[in-house]
Amino acid sequence: MDDLLREFLVESAEHLDTVDAELVRFEQDPNNQQILRNIFRLVHTIKGTCGFLGLPRLEALAHAAETLMGRFRDGYPVSGASVTLILATLDRLKAILADLEASGTEPSGSDDDLIGALDRMSSEEAPAPAPAPVAAPAAVVLPPPVERELKPGEVSLDELERAFLEAPGPDDFALEPAPAPAAYAPAQEPARELPAFEMASDMAAEEAPEPAAPRASAAASGPAEGGEGAIAKAQTIRVNVDTIEHLMTMVSELVLTRNQLLEIARRHEDSSYKVPLQRLSHVTAELQEGVMKTRMQPIGNAWQKLPRVVRDLSAELGKGIELVMSGAETELDRQVLDVIKDPLTHMVRNSADHGIEATNERIKAGKPARGTIRLSAYHEGGTITIEIADDGKGLDLAAIRKKAVERNLAPAAEIEKMTDAQVAKFIFHAGFSTAKAVTSVSGRGVGMDVVKTNIETIGGVVDIATELGRGTTFTIKIPLTLAIVSALIVKAGAQRYAVPQIAVLELVRVDAKGAKEGANAIERINGAPVLRLRERLLPIVTLDGLMRGQATVEEGEVVESGFVVVAQVGRQRFGVLVDEVFHTEEIVVKPMSSKLRHIPLFAGNTILGDGAVVLIVDPNGVARLVGQSAQSGAAAESEVEEVETGDAKATLLVFKSGAGGFKAVPLSLVTRLEEIDATKIEWLGGRPLIQYRGRLMPLVPADPSIPLRSEGSQSLVVFSDGDRAMGLVVDEIVDIVEERLDIEIAADRSDLIGSAVLRGRATDIINIAHFLPLAYDDWARGPRKTTTKAPSLLLVDDSAFFRDMLTPVLKAAGYAVSAAASADEALKTLLSNPSIDVVVSDLEMPGRSGFDLVGAMRKAGGRLAEMPVVALTGTVGPEAIEQARSLAISDLVAKFDRSGLLAALSEIGEPALASAA
């Protein structure tokens, strides 16, 4: 392929893209002569060049399109159908160009269909006499009947001749003495034109009868603006991308060398070469900036195709969609631009497809009939922020939560506690919403995992803000350039590493001795290091350990002091312990050798000012390793750890309340730890409340002797069950310990389960069951559970909360406890586990109630028919008692009556248990 042709291909492709965008703009604003002239000029250029290169097919098509556009210039009204037709023509042109690029010759084939339609539309009469055009009708508009008789290739030759003479631009056309009547020539055949118009409509795929016209206010970008385009063009040259890349590499190396020279100069007193060095340094900096600039492109280049995409989708889906773009001139690195181009298109398409509701739904919801997608970009520090916002229906978070539970993406309890933003991010899971369940409800997310991956590979992050019925906003933050990033230089072991600043949230100094003085110190849960940071637990990995291939820190090789680099990747937060932190430096990122690229920990390497090579740590890779090893990834978010039942250790939250005594509560019951501003506490009906996550949450002191603070901060331990939450007021949160729980039942105090020795300190284990009714009188009416006693007891309750609460109580009373969450599960356990001696069941459960369970047991016969059952209920009424008696339920106990339950159990106990044993 000769150079001329190659250049033509590149240029034409660009022109066609511009025409695409401009046409959509023009459709909105048909009186804008500027845009029209611009489009006209571009198509004309393509046509002219085709004739010159001997490409008859392209030329004939371009000519026909130009003729129609010529009529627009004459004041012919611009209709959706005609624009669609021209867009279809442009697509054909692109297809031919693609073939041409592949094979080097114009493909054979006929374009008569399009040309015919174009010609017919060109010759159609304007419905109303157009206002006298300012510019005389274009010379290029030949009387269509003449053209129709000729073959495509020939027709335009003499016309082309003229066109070339008239070059360079449309402005010249206006001066040309015009064969004025030409445009109106076909007026004699109005009847014939009608079917032609219909045909044109057909061509526009499934164009709605009244094509919805997306109003795309494309920002001024590209060579599009004004007739001066021709002059501006002469001042740019095309440079091969490789050349620029090479230049960039050379400059990077120059920068490094300069840095080394400066380092040397600093060590020497001899100043004879300081001045020239200074100058070199200066010039280098300028050169670097200049080369960086050549790599920068306005983000509008990536947006160019979007108006067309939205217009087509809008027509296809029958929705009115407006695309508003701002900040198209924001510049970013070419390399980055390439990576985000496709994800952006995908996201806009997604917003149009799934985000914006159908027109009638919008009207029903009282919104403007046309949906709006807002695309904006702006600089922010060293990053660029791109927002894609729609005013559509928003994500259905409830459905996403449900789906996430179904797909087992995280433990249900954890998902329940997640914030909306965290839940929304599930749509980025591979294949998450391709399944029908979510698609039918909320729809988002096909291929969103790919979008996220693409963005993350360049060190970017995506965030979602969504409001049901109001719309969704995606925010993408990406670094300006990949070539030079700001990095924190740290030391771990004997080596230095660079950590990209974009992933670093903060630095925390930790010290082994700090523990006693209340400063930051690393603590351990079963050897796993964690850091308490503003009442959240942060899992810690040591960089040195990671580098030795172990993601967890082993006991003994404890580095207890240094700095924790708090990093966030996606929704995972973790701390990386390093020995020393030096400074921040702008580093030139060099790719890893192909032999080392498989190591997930490194994103690349660089040469520092002193000439040393250091490795750049990849926060994404570290996050993956952290997530794999242990469950620290999950702990990062929820700081709630599973308390294992059975004989395993229990994790307890230790706090101080009243008279300096230590108290503890199983961590699994705790939803969050909060430090609130005491002035935010409100009193309603004599009870303290705070506004918490959009709801009112009652506060209950852990000890009656704790006065609520009226100023400063107040520590709270938040418990929640379903929608309800309660804040337990404590003096101070002390620690989280994991120990084998050996509870000694306390004296007659309902607020305590008992006491245990934790970390060598006598600690009261509080009975949350005592506090819940203080916050909500009706808490008991929700879920319930059952316990089995002595050797073996089965506890049936649909609420995990109550199961967790009662299990320690029953264990403390000497029972081996297994638990079931439903009647069905309980039956299954009973049938498979012959060692169970007694059942404690909640009566009010969703689905099969406790009575149903007992009924089924009695029917099952044998052992189950005889098995003693203690029922738990929120309300004890005569009917319930009657029914309980008929089912031979040993006792009915009110839900929070701990001692009542234990008494009932011990009453049945003796004979039943004896026989079991």
Binding site: L256, S594, N605, I607, V613
Partner: protein
């Protein structure tokens, strides 16, 4: 002495850069050798394949340093022992082959060339192109591409 050979049959000769590892002499075709330098300031890369000793800065380029001893499964040289590096290039990347020493450049013809003895350790055999019989010693010719083709097999094990 070898120069005489070259004069007789110039068309058939190849130039080899000779390097030493322990007592063994190896040859590398000269057109693959870009540099000979003293390696300094090597940054070790954690979790890397064992053959790779680290990264180093060669005139502003980051170069992957690979140890011929480890590649041949020989014991590491003693700490502080002299070492030299040969700059090799493969598909646009530069590698530094760390050896004990670098000798002269030899011009050798086909008449001294022998195939790789079949009883050679397979690890050696895989990266050798042949052996030249020289006066009093043997020269093992290294296949640069085979030399640099490592890590693929060990990759999975590394990740795990």
């Amino acid at each position: 002495m070898q120069a005489a050979n070259a004069n007789i049959a110039p068309a058939d000769t190849t130039d080899y850069v000779t390097v030493f590892v322990g007592e063994t002499m190896f040859g590398l075709t000269i057109d693959r050798v870009h540099d000979v330098f003293v390696p300094a300031g090597i940054t070790p890369v954690p979790l890397a394949p064992k053959e790779i000793v680290g990264l180093l800065n060669l005139r502003g380029r980051v170069v992957t340093a690979l140890c011929l001893r480890r590649r041949l499964s020989l014991p590491d040289r003693e700490a502080g022992a002299a070492q030299m590096a040969i700059g090799l290039e493969q598909t646009g990347e530069t590698f530094a082959l760390i050896v004990d020493g670098v000798g002269e450049v030899l011009k050798l013809g086909a008449e001294t060339h022998e195939p790789v003895p079949i009883n050679l350790d397979p690890r050696w055999r895989d990266i050798s192109l042949g052996v030249h019989r020289l006066d009093g010693r043997l020269l093992v010719i290294l296949d640069v591409d085979a030399l640099l083709a490592f890590g693929e097999a060990g990759r999975d094990a590394k990740v795990a």
